[in-house]
């Protein structure tokens, strides 16, 4: 046992220093050189003010904006300092209630919309920070936005399409619309 102690201790300290300090500092150096903007959070700066991160969703409840995924972070939605999902099980009555409430809010903002409601628009995301919605969820809301903002539907569709990504490399992931960037574009429109 005694013969093991010295190698154990010194090897542990040595490997800790290499993997715990040298490694992250090295990666930071490389990252800041190669991808400085991404390494510090893909921040969006508008008029000298940081308004968000391209990768982190924000809460939208104004009918004039596209709404994103419901967020279950606490205490407020889209709390980027405390990510997380709702963790509600499929049989949980609270889940059914929450979805019911979200459907009501959607209907209240757009009473005449009879399209089927896209699931991602009424279910909480895993991170609570999901920056995307499905193209279906964007399409569902497009009528409302066009009406409230007085934009030609075709022009709006084009704007949505600009902020829609297909599957990465045509195979990975799902097609998706970046809500924050789309809403920024909406405000900048005209």
């Amino acid at each position: 046992m005694k013969t093991l102690l010295r190698p154990a201790l010194s090897l542990f300290v040595l490997l800790s220093l290499i993997t715990g300090l040298a490694y992250p500092f090295l990666v930071t150096g490389l990252a800041k050189t190669a991808f400085p903007e991404k390494a510090s959070g893909s921040l969006i700066v508008k008029d000298g003010k940081t308004v968000g991160s391209r990768l982190i969703g924000q809460n939208f409840s104004d009918p004039k904006y596209f709404w994103g995924r419901p967020s279950a972070t606490g205490p407020m939605p889209y709390n980027a300092a405390a990510s997380g999902g709702s963790n509600q099980g499929p049989l949980n009555p609270a889940l059914v209630d929450a979805v019911k409430g979200r459907i009501e809010a959607l209907k209240a903002a757009d009473p005449d919309n009879t399209r089927p409601i896209p699931a991602d628009l009424v279910t909480a995301s895993a991170s609570g920070l999901d920056p995307h919605i499905s193209p279906a969820a964007a399409a569902y809301q497009a009528g409302r936005i066009a009406r409230l903002r007085g934009i030609e539907p075709a022009a709006l569709d084009a704007l949505v399409a600009q902020h829609t990504e297909g599957r990465q490399w045509s195979i990975f992931g799902e097609p998706r619309v970046s809500v924050l960037e789309l809403n920024l574009a909406l405000d900048a429109y005209r």
Partner: protein, 592 residues
């Protein structure tokens, strides 16, 4: 399952299987010291640490070395958490972690479980994330790999007294395999959008003001309740969003590569900063199974018959395909309760999932992470459909041998193989042997322990938690799902997975202690008997292969191995699963 899901599955397996051979050869060559540059560069380190590299260890000494090394890890992680408030690299001024949570996290990371009772961005300083957690991500992964290498040596050697030098093995795997891959991998992740900095958290001005209710506090900081005992809330406004920062990519890389799974953030790989794009996600999935898959080839190469490695890999692949298809198909189901409300069933069960990943990647990721001992998540398993949540449970209950954790997956599978050989050997009228080694009383004893430990921990742990008031208090979801949450927690802890039905409030002294114990014994209760088997096998003669020898590389044996894994792995859990996910599914669909 839609065509995208099929394409994804096929692509994943194709790419993974293509990496097996080159990576397997590299692993074998590093571990056996076949590279001159390895031997040259490691020497000064050994001198520095007082390690006599040429001195091999018997299994008992090897075991003590591993235990000691891991115990140091527990101590270090515990100490860093308890002292972080006074240490540097803490821009958010995180306070010291509570003793029970610190204990849980220390055991969790040292045992490669990486169960997280805490929320990363709201608990840990950057120094703790790096020097405690990232270090253990490397070292616990290295531990798993060296154990399986020692076991492989047990098969490969004959009439030998030793199974290798633990210090040399740990050094080689850490510095020549895990570290270089992690560096490249981390930079790639940043390229996709992962963050890597030491900045303080950033406040950004949001486009919209967020209105929400917060509980009202009195002057003493206590919750104010009305006469009915309901907490009084007051409307609050937030004009900014605080973006958590940190050295994320460097931890993320080894978290996946070492099948650790402990996220920098609470939302783990669902967090856009950890796993920004579908491509980064694909690479993350690949990196979980990269080493476990390759080790099968390493195994075949080291025992001198690569067919043996392919056979084990084939068994894993078959199980994997079954689990993955099931998970993706079950999650593609829409929750009938929501469909009833008018929600379009086309997108499937999106609760707790990210839009960029959708159903197919979420189902596949959940299968991969729980078939391995990873435990990282890109979707909230607690919100899966009942049978969708059953698949991760099954992955863990099988002992995480489907590719599995780094090292742990293969040694778990080899333990099953020993069992399969034992039964099938008898069935053809020979006392059993595997790779020329007779499987006798001692091996069966150790195999039995290795197979017994985790089910006992899971079943008994769950039993304690469902009757104890402290245990029931943590449950988030009503009905049978509450049982599933607790079962999942102990399955995850004892099998060193780390994923969770995260609704369970497990950051309490009760769960921190109980789960901590389950993690420790679930890890070393298997490692010790596995190393004992390694020692005993190494000492044996190697028998010749004849026509009468059961071929352990044949399709038949692969099928048998799959059967044994399913039968021995699952029979223990049938009643528990019936009272959890199975009954939930029946109830969910019974009424509709």
């Amino acid at each position: 399952m839609n065509s995208h899901a099929w394409e994804l599955l096929v692509l994943y397996l194709t790419v993974l299987l293509l990496t097996v051979k080159p990576m397997g050869i590299y692993l074998a060559m590093v571990m056996e010291g076949e590279f001159a540059f390895v031997r040259k560069t490691e020497r000064p380190l050994y001198r520095l640490c007082g390690i006599r590299a040429e001195e091999e260890m018997g299994w008992l000494k090897y075991t003590f070395a591993i235990l000691l090394f891991n115990a140091l890890g527990v101590l270090a992680v515990y100490a860093l958490q308890r002292l972080q408030a006074w240490l540097p690299l803490n821009p958010q001024g995180m306070t010291n972690v509570s003793p029970d949570s610190a204990f849980n996290t220390a055991v969790s990371f040292a045992s490669n479980t990486n169960w997280q009772g805490y929320g990363g961005e709201s608990t840990m300083s950057y120094l703790t994330q790096m020097l405690a957690l990232t270090v253990q991500n490397f070292l616990s992964a290295a531990t798993g790999i060296v154990v399986v290498i020692a076991l492989i040596r047990g098969f490969a050697r004959h009439t030998a007294a030793s199974i290798g030098n633990a210090w040399v093995d740990l050094t080689r795997i850490t510095l020549y395999v895990l570290l270089p891959i992690s560096i490249v991998y981390a930079v790639f992740l940043v390229g996709q959008g992962s963050i890597q900095n030491f900045d303080a958290y950033k406040d950004v001005t949001t486009m919209e003001v967020t209105k929400y209710d917060t509980p009202k506090l009195d002057a003493a900081g206590q919750l104010v309740k009305n006469e009915k005992g309901v907490v009084v809330t007051e409307p609050t406004e937030a004009k900014t969003q605080t973006l958590a920062m940190g050295p994320v990519a460097s931890q993320e890389a080894i978290k996946m590569l070492g099948t650790n799974g402990g996220g920098f953030f609470n939302a783990n790989s669902a967090h856009p900063f950890e796993n920004p794009t579908p491509l980064s996600n694909f690479v993350q999935m690949l990196s979980i199974s990269l080493i476990p898959g390759a080790l099968c080839f390493t195994f075949g190469r080291m025992v001198g018959d690569t067919r043996q490695g392919w056979a084990v890999l084939a068994a894993m692949t078959i199980l994997f395909i079954g689990l993955a298809i099931a998970a993706m198909a079950f999650e593609q189901q829409a929750n009938p309760l929501l469909t009833q409300l008018g929600v379009d069933p086309a997108l499937g069960n999106m609760e707790g999932k990210e839009a960029r990943f959708g159903i197919a990647e979420s189902g596949l990721f959940a299968t991969i992470t729980t078939s391995a001992s990873c435990g990282a998540v890109i979707a909230m398993h607690d919100s899966f459909m009942p049978l969708g949540g059953l698949i991760p449970l099954i992955g863990m209950h099988l002992g995480e041998v489907v590719f599995g954790g780094v090292g742990t997956g293969l040694y778990g599978m080899l333990v099953f193989a020993i069992l399969a050989v034992f039964i099938s050997g008898l069935m053809i009228g020979r006392t059993p042997e595997y790779l020329g080694k007779k499987i006798e009383t001692y091996e069966m004893k150790m195999t039995s322990i290795a197979i017994l430990v985790t089910p006992l921990l899971v079943l008994v742990g769950t039993a304690i938690a469902v009757i104890a008031a402290d245990g029931r208090a943590g449950i988030a979801n009503p009905g049978a799902h509450g049982f599933s949450e607790i079962l999942y927690a102990f399955s995850s802890a004892a099998n060193n997975n780390g994923s969770a039905f995260a609704g369970l409030s497990a950051n309490t002294p009760f769960y921190n202690t109980l789960l901590g114990l389950a993690m420790w014994f679930g890890r070393f209760g298997v490692i010790v008997p596995v190393l004992a088997i390694a020692g005993s096998l190494a000492a044996k003669k190697r028998l010749a292969v004849t026509e009468g020898t059961l071929p352990t590389h044949s399709p038949l044996f692969v099928v048998l191995l799959v059967g044994i894994v399913l039968l021995v792995g699952l029979l223990n859990y049938v009643p528990a699963l019936a009272l959890g996910p199975v009954i939930e599914q029946l109830m969910l669909f019974a009424a509709h």
